[in-house]
Each structure stands twice: as C-alpha cells, then as structure tokens.
C-alpha cells in the first residue's frame, strides 16, 4: 500500500489472528478467524479510520497492533522494526502505543485518583516528578487540573474520557489507538472529543488509529478510511475520496444505513436496508464473504474470492463489481 519510498511509521503486514472457541455445550473446538489477513500502514501525524460492524474484528486488530495480543501470523512493524522482536528492542517498540477504550469508567483504576492514573504511563517510563506534566495535560484536554485529586467515579462520562485521553497522550506516544473511544458518549460530547483529538493532533503530531462502528465519526476525524467485513479489509481509501465515492457494496450499505439528521432526505429514501444478518466468523461464506447479503452478488461471488485491487487513485476495493455498486450510490446519494 505504501507507495512512497520511505518506510511508514506503522506497517501491518498480512496480520491474522485465530481464536480457538468452544461453543457453549458443544464439545468440539472450532477455529474463529477474527482477523484474517489485514495489511495497513499509518504515517506520522495521520489518522486512519477503521469501520465495520460488530464482530468484524476491529478490537482484535487494535489489540494486535498495540501488542496486547500476539498474532497467529503476520507482522506489525514500527519504523520498520517488528514489535515482537525478542528482547528490549521489541518491548521498546510496543511502548510507542497507547490505547483509549470505549468504557471510560472501566479503563481507570477506581481506587486511584485521576491524576495518579493519568501519570501512570510517564511513571512507567521512569519519570519521577509528574505533577507538572499531569496539570499541563489535563488543561490541554480541557479539564480543570483541580480534578486530578478526584476519583474517577466523581467525574462525568465525558470528563473520564478526556482524562483517559490525557493519560494516553502524556508519555508522548507515537500512535494512539482509539477503540470505540467515543461510542458511549452523548452526541454533544462526541463532538467535543472529536474536536479535541483534531486539535491535539495538530499540536502534537500524534498518529491515530481510530476504530468505530460509526461511519460519521470515523469520517469526521480520518485522513484515510478502511472498511472491514468479517475479519477482512474490503475497502481502503482516502477519506475525501471515500466520502464521495464508496465503492464496495458493503461500504455503500453502511453509508446508506448511516442516517443523516435531515428529515426530508430520510423520508425520501425509503427502505434501504441490507437483507440478513452478519454471518458467523466461525463459518464465513465462501468466495466473497459479503455475497450472502450483497445486492450485486452473482454466482462468481460465491465461488471466487475477490482480491483487494486498485480502482484508481489508490482507492482499494475487494469486489468483483465494485464500479457497478458505486453507480448506484451516485443516484441514491445524489441529494448530498
């Protein structure tokens, strides 16, 4: 994917993760391919958005990327070096990541003060006097530094999420991975946090991997967007390009299902729903994994797996009929 000559900050190559699961009551163990051959790259100061439905492997990908999980196959490279290289080199590389999770209250130690939690990554680096840095960081994320002495439960959800962002950024990480970091917040808070992230990125030059099932939120913050379906990347493109011309029929469906705050437009739209449910990753469909729900599917789709190919301007898509699907978007979304 990286067309430039130099190595990108983060490079993920053909990453796979399989879980051995035993369904309840059943005796046999089955293989669940949570992430199945994902490649991506991220430049310094860039935001890569990853969207997809529940269970498509977003969180697993996030945990693999930051080194919380070991891949079954594939590599995660930071500045060209493998994060799982044995010894200090690998450990050092894994430290370059920070992660912000969905549930702000669950990710902070309830018995420690907010200030102590925020200081943690700095202390892990061996910095002794953290008070000043904590104060600066809290101010930066728009929190009153006096809140440092409070316990997490004394903060509102939005304040807690700001504090976890402060914690993620305090040790100057190269990459911050957001796994649904704004999903549990109110719309007005979501907007506050998204703006905050944009500002901080401008000031600090941090790279974000921004994972969400909410296409609107992903597009609001990303330079590039990746769409996942059942453990695979089905589309990858610059955000601008993607917003004007989503190519994969699944991206189109996702886009159509994302409701806009515009009554006239919504009423005119009629039924746009995709048929059926997301198949189980334990038993993914043959050929193109989307063919069971795809409005464009033919026999070919059920038999032959489409590879990720360039549909022009670096816009990657894995679909036999992607261009046909895009035409449909143009007419449906003409109003935009």
């Amino acid at each position: 994917m990286a067309s430039e000559g130099k190595t990108p900050l983060l490079q993920v190559e053909n990453l796979k993760k399989q879980f051995h699961v035993r369904s309840r009551g059943a005796r046999d163990i089955r293989l669940l391919r949570a992430v199945d051959g994902v490649s991506l790259h991220l430049e310094a100061g860039e935001t890569l958005g990853i969207v997809g439905e529940s269970g498509c492997g977003k969180s697993t990908l996030a945990r693999l990327t930051v080194g919380l999980l070991q891949p079954s196959e594939g590599r995660v490279l930071i500045d060209g070096g493998d994060i799982w290289e044995p010894g200090a080199a690998g450990r050092e590389r894994r430290r370059k990541f920070q992660m912000v999770f969905q549930n702000p209250s669950g990710s902070m130690n309830p018995r420690r003060t907010v200030g102590a939690s925020v200081a943690e990554p700095l202390q892990a680096k061996g910095v002794r006097n953290t008070a000043e840095a904590v104060e600066r960081m809290l101010t930066l994320v728009g929190l009153d530094p006096a809140l440092a002495t409070r316990k997490p439960h004394q903060l509102s959800g939005g304040q807690q999420q700001r504090a976890s962002i402060a914690r993620a950024l305090i040790a100057d990480p190269a990459i911050v991975v957001h796994d649904e970091s704004i999903a549990s917040l109110d719309i007005s808070l979501q907007a506050q946090i998204l703006n905050l992230l944009l500002d901080l990125q401008e000031d600090l030059g941090t790279s974000y991997l921004f994972i969400s099932h909410d296409l609107a939120a992903v597009q609001a913050i990303s330079h590039r967007v990746i769409v996942m379906y059942l453990g695979e990347v089905v589309e990858a493109s610059a955000a601008e390009e993607f917003s004007g011309r989503p190519l994969h029929p699944y991206s189109v469906a996702l886009r159509n299902a994302t409701l806009l705050p515009d009554p006239a437009h919504e009423r005119a739209r009629g039924d746009t729903a995709l048929r059926g449910d997301v198949p189980s990753p334990m038993n993914p469909p043959s050929g193109c994994r989307f063919h069971t729900r795809c409005p464009l599917a033919t026999d070919l789709c059920a038999q032959q797996k489409p590879l990720l190919r360039d549909a022009g301007r670096g816009h990657l898509v894995a679909c036999h009929y992607a261009e046909a699907g895009a035409g449909e978007v143009a007419t449906q979304e003409g109003a935009l």
């Binding site: 309840r24 009551g25 059943a26 005796r27």
Partner: protein
C-alpha cells in the same frame, strides 16, 4: 445428551479414583500404623510386629498396598476393624442409612423452608417481611450448630420430654419413636442450612428480579406472581441448585457434631470414634464414603444444569 452423561460418569469415576488414592495416602502417611494399634504400643517384640505387618500386607510397597486395598474396596471389603473386631463394611452398612436419612431430611426441610422464604424475602426486599425473615434465620445461622443442639437438648428434655425421644430408635423397632428421636437432630442441623438456602435464594432472586427481561414481562402485563415464581425463579434456580448440592459438604461436617450430641449411630459419630481410637480402616472407609457422596451429588447437579438453563444445552 446421552454422550454427555457417559462422559460425566467417566469423569466421576476418575475423580473417585483420585480421591481414593488421596484418602489411602493420607491413611498411610499418618505416623504410626495399624500394627501398633493391634499389637499394642509397648511390650511387643519385633517379631510380633513383623508378623502382624505381614498378615496385613503392610510390608509391601505402598502402590501395591493401594491396589490391594482398592480391589477389596471395590468388592465392598474394607477390612476388619482392629478395635471392634467387626468388618468395617458391616459397620458402614449399619451407619450409612442413619446419616443418609438425616442428610436427606435436612436438605428436604431446609429447601422446603429456605427456598420459599428466600423468594418471599427477595420479593419484599428491605421491607418488613424481608427483615423479619432474615433476622430470624440469620440469627440461627450465626449460632454454632453445637450450641443450638445443646440448647434444644436441654429445652427438649426439660419441657417436652415426651415429644422428643432422646436416644436413637431404628425404624424397624418403632416408627413413631424413630421419628421422635430424629426430630431434634434434624432441627439442630436444619436451622443453619435453611438460613443459608434462604440467603442464597434471596441473593439469586434479587439479581434476576431487576433483570431487563423481568421488566419486559411486566410491561407485557404478565401477572406479578407469575413473574416472580416463573420468569424470575427459573433464572435464579441454577445457582441455588448448585449451592444446595454444595451444602452437602457442610452438612457432612454438621453430621459429625450432631450425631455426637444426640448419640445417633451414624457415619459421623462412627468417624469420630474411629479417629479417637485410631481405627485406620474405619477412618479411611468412612472418608471414602463421604467423598463419594459429595462427588456423586455434584455430578448430579451438573447433569441438572442443562435442564434448568437452555444455554447450557448443546445445539
């Protein structure tokens, strides 16, 4: 389902094998052995000692001893007690029904009272009825079994000597007397167990009474009693059943005390006596019986689980 039962039984057999090995090992590791009991501590010559050891097979290596012991045990032969001179198995056969009756009656009574009491307490959580039930039952729970037992014994023998017959009478001799002789031991041990069942039921019910599906049922106009006793109870039941199975362990300990206080010729009292007199074969055999009962009850509870919770059933 059948496959699951077979697997389960296999598991039980393995566990029992391990337990028997453990029980045997403990018996063998306790300082001193049966020989010293039989021959007497002092004045015995080395030759007498060796002769007895040989007769009992104690000179052989431990694993061999174990296999021999196990082979006999499987045929129901646990050896002869050096103290009483009777066959251990025959003693067990005599003691077992007494303890089993007491244990089953206790479970029956404690469940029959504790379960509804727990449900009512949960439904009336933190209101007067709940507090009343909890105070009454928890008070008895916090008093040790032997205190209740002795109190009952004193009260019973003083105020209602006709109602409570103190010395044990078997069924076969006089059914009425038998019931009377079992009443007080039963009361003694049933109190704390009932309190536990009540407490567990209440906690388990409280958890499900606030579950979203209970609200769904209520919003659908289902009658409150039906919600409590059907919708909620069905979901509260699995942990309660597990707990009742688990109580058997506590019950076994309780039996030892209660049988001692009320002089019931059951396993518990037999065990205590055997320990006091260092009657090794008796101790090992009784322990094995207790352990077997425990393992089998728990296996039964496990088998009940899929019946109670559809999510545990295979697809």
């Amino acid at each position: 389902m059948l496959k699951m039962i077979v697997m389960r039984l296999l598991g039980v057999a393995l566990v029992l094998l391990a337990v028997s090995a453990l029980v045997f090992a403990f018996g063998a590791l306790i300082p001193g052995d049966m020989t010293s009991v039989i021959v007497g501590q002092e004045g015995a010559t080395q030759e007498q000692f060796e002769a007895v050891r040989q007769r009992l097979g104690l000179d052989k290596p431990l694993p061999v001893q174990y296999v021999n012991w196990l082979a006999n045990a499987l045929q129901g032969d646990f050896g002869t007690s050096p103290i009483t001179g009777r066959s251990v198995a025959s003693d067990l056969v005599r003691q077992f029904p007494v303890s089993l009756e007491l244990a089953l009656l206790t479970l029956l009574v404690s469940t029959a009272i504790g379960l509804p009491a727990g449900i009512v307490a949960a439904v009336h959580a933190n209101r007067r009825l709940d507090v009343l039930i909890r105070v009454t039952l928890l008070f008895t729970f916090s008093v040790p079994i032997f205190v209740i037992g002795i109190l009952l014994l004193l009260v019973g023998s003083r105020w209602a000597p006709d109602l409570f017959h103190v010395s044990f009478t078997p069924w076969s001799e006089d059914p009425v007397m038998h019931v009377r002789s079992m009443a007080m031991p039963l009361l003694t041990i049933a109190f704390p167990i009932t309190a536990m069942t009540m407490q567990m039921t209440r906690a388990s019910m409280l958890e499900v009474l606030h579950a979203p599906y209970v609200v769904t049922a209520r919003a659908g106009g289902v009658r409150e009693k039906r919600i409590e006793y059907l919708h909620a109870l069905r979901n509260a039941l699995p942990p309660i059943v597990t707990f009742i199975g688990f109580q058997l362990g506590i019950l076994l300990g309780g039996l030892i005390v209660v049988e001692q206080i009320f002089s019931l010729p059951g396993l518990g009292r037999g065990m205590l006596e055997a320990i006091n007199t260092r009657d090794y074969p008796m101790v090992t055999a009784t322990t094995l019986v207790f352990a077997t009962a425990f393992v089998i009850i728990n296996a039964l509870v496990d088998l009940l689980y899929p019946l109670l919770d559809p999510r545990q059933r295979g697809r």
